[in-house]
Symmetry: C2
Subunit: 493 residues, 2 copies
């Protein structure tokens, strides 16, 4: 156990906060529930942003910016939306020293302000689709907050698209949940299940909420991203219509999708260990740290010079850091960079210099590898890809080892308590069953799979629902199943 970091086994919640503290990522601010994202944490967010932003642009999206404030009357236009969000809003009542005629809500999400704007932009099918994303801060008045996972203010991106047909909007919703899946798997190195939420867990105002769910090291689920098919709800609320190719007036179809600084929480809880943070190389602000080792002043100059020689030409090719601070001993430095999650450490001592080698130390496994100085950058790049892949594999093995299929409800009730994990189980699809069950247990339905990877089973019962037709079809060809968190579940089939 590293100094100052509680072990996962002894107190998982405290371990999480200790890792954040040890890696100097964030802290609570003087404003209740709001966090300060410190430079190390923000550098992670910048890397997440820049990768996602590239993926959004590759899929045809553009960025824009809409106001922070939403007039109260806008919030009230979509009935489910206001019911879901208004109670958790921060409300501005005074501006410029005067009481406002209409209250302004600090945006908890931007559907209403954006659809009131789209009304002006959309007249004809030629104006569609609109494919816009916004990077912004949002505020939701959470009572129990947790750094990165749930804070009163957080940073996120929210995509808001407008389409001429249901089919196109559904395709967009699925495209974006797949972008999130790819990002989670290829960059966060976090395996995820993809599916749709139950009606009870849907975004307020959506017809369908697609999600990606990841398993943390405590075997609990974390919702890492959502993509909402909003149907024509917001178009109807804000009266946004367009003339189709035949001259008929139609309401526009909508989607919205978002991920937030919560992804940093997912990153921490998927990979980190009792020695501190572990960052997947593709998202690491510093990918490799070089620590020259010396015993006296004359050696110091020689070793620093050797390290400078070694890293000549690296600038612009790899994000590296040379730690040649005089006042700290190597052991202190090793520990510091380990806590901060730098994927790879290069040690260079006088003996290594003599034999033209360095020692490479992997953050994920602790493995030490002697490597020749020649071709070092290529060796490092190769190792970083290996680490990226190993982190994903480790997380995948862990998740799969803790994901079960269970047909028997009695057995499931015991298993969800011990050993816990994710469970694929049957569910009738009725909201009443879900509600009753959640009251008598601690399990939550995480998703209904849509990828057809589970065998088909016919369902005995279906609930009345506003779900679109293709949803039923999916439900029938996929197994009628759910992932549940360790806490119980209802089996009705």
């Amino acid at each position: 156990m590293a100094k100052g970091i509680t072990t996962r086994a002894s107190d998982y919640s405290k371990w999480y906060l200790d890792v954040i503290d040890a890696a100097d990522l964030a802290e609570h601010s003087a404003v209740r529930g709001c966090m300060v994202i410190k430079p190390n944490g923000y550098a992670l967010w910048e890397n997440i942003q820049s990768q996602l932003d590239a993926m959004f642009k590759e899929t045809g999206h553009q960025n824009a910016y809409f106001p922070l404030f939403i007039p109260e009357s806008f919030m009230k236009k979509e009935a489910e939306h206001v019911e879901g969000f208004a109670p958790e809003c921060a409300v501005v009542t005074h501006g410029g020293g005067k009481e406002l005629e209409e209250k302004l809500y600090v945006r908890p999400t931007s559907e209403t302000i954006i659809w009131s704007t789209y009304k002006k932009w959309i007249q004809s099918y030629r104006d569609l689709p609109i494919l816009i994303n916004q990077w912004a801060n949002v505020v939701r008045w959470e009572m129990r907050t947790r750094l990165f996972l749930r804070t009163l203010e957080f940073l996120w991106q929210e995509g808001h698209t407008a389409h001429a047909t249901r089919q196109e909007a559904v395709a967009e919703t699925k495209l974006m949940i797949d972008v999130y899946r790819r990002f989670a798997e290829e960059y966060l190195a976090a395996p995820v299940f993809v599916g749709v939420k139950t009606a009870a867990e849907r975004f307020a105002g959506a017809l369908d909420t697609y999600c990606i769910e990841a398993m943390m090291q405590d075997k609990k689920a974390l919702q890492a991203g959502t993509s909402h098919f909003l149907g024509q709800n917001f178009a109807k609320a804000f009266d946004v219509t367009f003339q189709d190719e035949n001259g008929a007036l139609e309401h526009v179809w909508a989607t919205s999708w978002g991920v937030s600084t919560r992804l940093i929480g997912a990153l921490i809880m998927t990979h980190s260990d009792d020695n501190g943070l572990v960052i997947p190389p593709r998202l690491a602000p510093i990918k490799v740290v070089l620590v020259p080792i010396w015993k006296d002043e004359s050696q110091r100059a020689m070793m620093v010079e050797a390290t400078d020689r070694l890293t000549k030409g690296w600038k612009g090719r790899i994000a590296f850091k040379v730690d040649d601070r005089e006042q700290y001993r190597p052991g202190f430095k090793f520990n510091e960079w380990e806590k901060r999650g730098v994927p790879l450490r290069v040690e260079l001592g006088p003996k290594d210099l003599e034999s033209n080698q360095v020692i490479l130390v992997r953050r994920d496994t602790g493995e030490k590898i002697a490597a020749p100085q020649e071709g070092l950058l290529e060796k490092i790049e190769q190792l970083l890809e290996e680490i990226q892949s190993a982190l994903y594999q480790r997380a995948r093995v862990f998740r799969d080892a803790n994901t079960f299929e269970e047909d028997d409800f009695q057995a499931f009730q015991k298993l969800i308590e011990e050993p816990g994990g994710f469970f694929w189980v049957h569910w009738c699809g009725q909201a009443a069953c879900e509600a009753t069950f959640q009251e008598t247990s601690k399990a939550t339905i995480r998703l209904i799979p849509i990828d057809g990877s589970k065998e088909q089973k016919a369902a005995a019962l279906f609930a009345a629902s506003r779900r679109p037709l293709e949803y039923w079809w999916q439900n029938l060809i996929s197994r009628i199943a759910l992932i549940l968190q360790p806490c119980g579940v209802r089996r009705i089939l």
Copy 2:
């Protein structure tokens, strides 16, 4: 005159709004005073951001993020600061459905929340300097708003640094105003004067405000960026002390500096013309647009294919767009890209194809240049640099032709009305003179130069002031002079 764009000569203010509209950059939102930054406008901001961000990082700064909300008690800790900002704040009084015990101000700037945080981070000289920047939205309750130039909510960056000595903090303040100057001149292609503000125009809570001032095409000044030397004001207000190398307890020295989406307003008003937006190539989201020209369907396929062949290998090397839309005629397309400010247009018709050439059209001058297809990308890159440089030169010539030195107050009073422009004149340095004069005229003191480029003159009078010593010294070696906006000024020497 382009369709829909008022000329500068007939109505400069309307021309400005017409250009924004024609280039589809932004619009007013349903929330009073807040703007929607549309994709074309936001793409400009992204380019501004990414260049500035690189310059901040090169000068040793890191990004972080601090809360949107500031408790009322924090605002009140620095007397001048609260007096300057509190009246123009948006105030949150309710959250999560309840009235708050303490009001929260939506940040108009973040000195107070940041210095309350720095207090926790700084104990010893080893913790200094802190060099942090934040990209964020801020709110100031402006009554008269104007797209990009003055809006209730705007996007900006704010740097907040902490130092062990006055000298180091002053050096940082100057370093950052010089970063802004470089950005303005090398990227915005806008020549600027650098100087300090008078006490009356200083940032609330600063000892000195350094600024860059640019001349717009109506000969008026636009403050494009400011860098504040805050002395120990905020450290004292929030009791932020550190132990120096000798063990003595000292208050920390501070700076803050920022630029905002107003830079887009500066860009528009410096370069655009009666045909619409003109974007300096280095900041252009689309640097070159290619328009294949055809007469019938068979030609169309041939010309589109030729254009594709021509641009093969360009992706990733230059931001270009091929406009092969079927439904519009070439003239319509030329006009559209002209309005949007794309620096260079490439026309390719059947005859050009035969003679292996293209026609290049410069946005800044309208000049048409026949160029061989071979080596086209290199030719374009060279022309873009020429345009960048020509835009700067044109703006520089315009500014210099409209900047005067005037020793005689009577003469100046006439000249500032007609022809107007910037005037270097004498000022005693007394706040009372500045105030009296501003009441009886429309002139404002834009800055006192610090670069020593003006000849030395002794000043007859100095005002009592909290300014640091080196300020007086600069004042003595530089000419005691000011830039004034067309509206009058006081000469006391």
